[in-house]
């Protein structure tokens, strides 16, 4: 462990090793997660005529995210910086992702770029991507040959 030693090695932390939920991948709390998880993690939903994308970007301000949309792809880019004034050797534990990141998502349908909207709240970016008119499913009547 890097960092200055307190007299007698002050270690106020001792963490419970817990049994984690069975449904999802579990993480060893003592292992750095940076190489296991992609950053930001993204979920995509379909809601009516729009796709809804949510990206987990904790500690990120809206102006630190670059969002580019074409008719069928969406690209998110940014950089996450460590807090200033904290020396590298003062870290006891580092599990959070830091550094440059970029993600590109190919959407299942074409979207209407002009109507894309995004909002940021509590470290979660939500992007609403309405489908383009021509991409909406149409019912096509199937007639039997007479």
């Amino acid at each position: 462990m890097a960092g200055p030693d307190w007299r007698g090695g002050w270690d106020p932390f001792h963490e419970f090793q817990r049994e984690m939920g069975r449904l999802f991948q579990t993480f060893d709390p003592f292992q750095s997660l940076r190489h296991i998880r992609t950053f930001p993690a993204i979920n995509l939903y379909v809601a009516g005529d729009a796709f809804l994308l949510s990206a987990q970007l904790p500690g990120t301000a809206p102006d630190e995210v670059e969002l580019t949309v074409t008719s069928e792809t969406l690209t998110l880019r940014g950089e996450r910086k460590r807090p200033e004034g904290v020396k590298d050797d003062s870290y006891r534990r580092q599990e959070r992702f830091m550094g440059r990141w970029s993600r590109t998502i190919t959407l299942p349908d074409r979207i209407d770029e002009a109507k894309v909207s995004a909002q940021f709240a509590d470290g979660v970016l939500t992007v609403r991507l309405p489908r383009a008119e021509g991409a909406k499913p149409r019912q096509i009547a199937v007639s039997s040959p007479s």
């Binding site: 002050w10 001792h14 419970f16 003062s90 599990e95």
Partner: protein
Amino acid sequence: MSEAHPSIRVPVGPPAAQSPAAATTRDAAHRPTITPPIDIHEGPDGLTLEADLPGATESNLTIQLEHNVLSLDARIDAVAPEGGRLIHQEYPVGDYHRSFILSDDVDRERIAAELKDGVLKIFLPKADRARARRIEIQS
């Protein structure tokens, strides 16, 4: 430090039946528990712990100190409106939980926490008696 992250390709095709994961987010009885990643760094006056809790707000986050156990809990709901269907999932939506045992060297009365943009910062000051004291040497 730059890392290549995989691109997402969402399969195009007929909608799949609802995946078990999507059902989970709607079923309060089986909400997953997520261990949030943390950083801990040490300064002259104590330790600072930072936890990534995207989606956590002051109203859904609880920090508890009971005896010598400090625990973080937050209950998070999905951003999708009712009727939204999950078609690609990289993170579970559920409840954050993580706990620590504090030694007596932490001054419990002065623990301070702040939450901003989904990051929780907890300052754990060193108790006075744990700080190194300079002792004057009389000649």
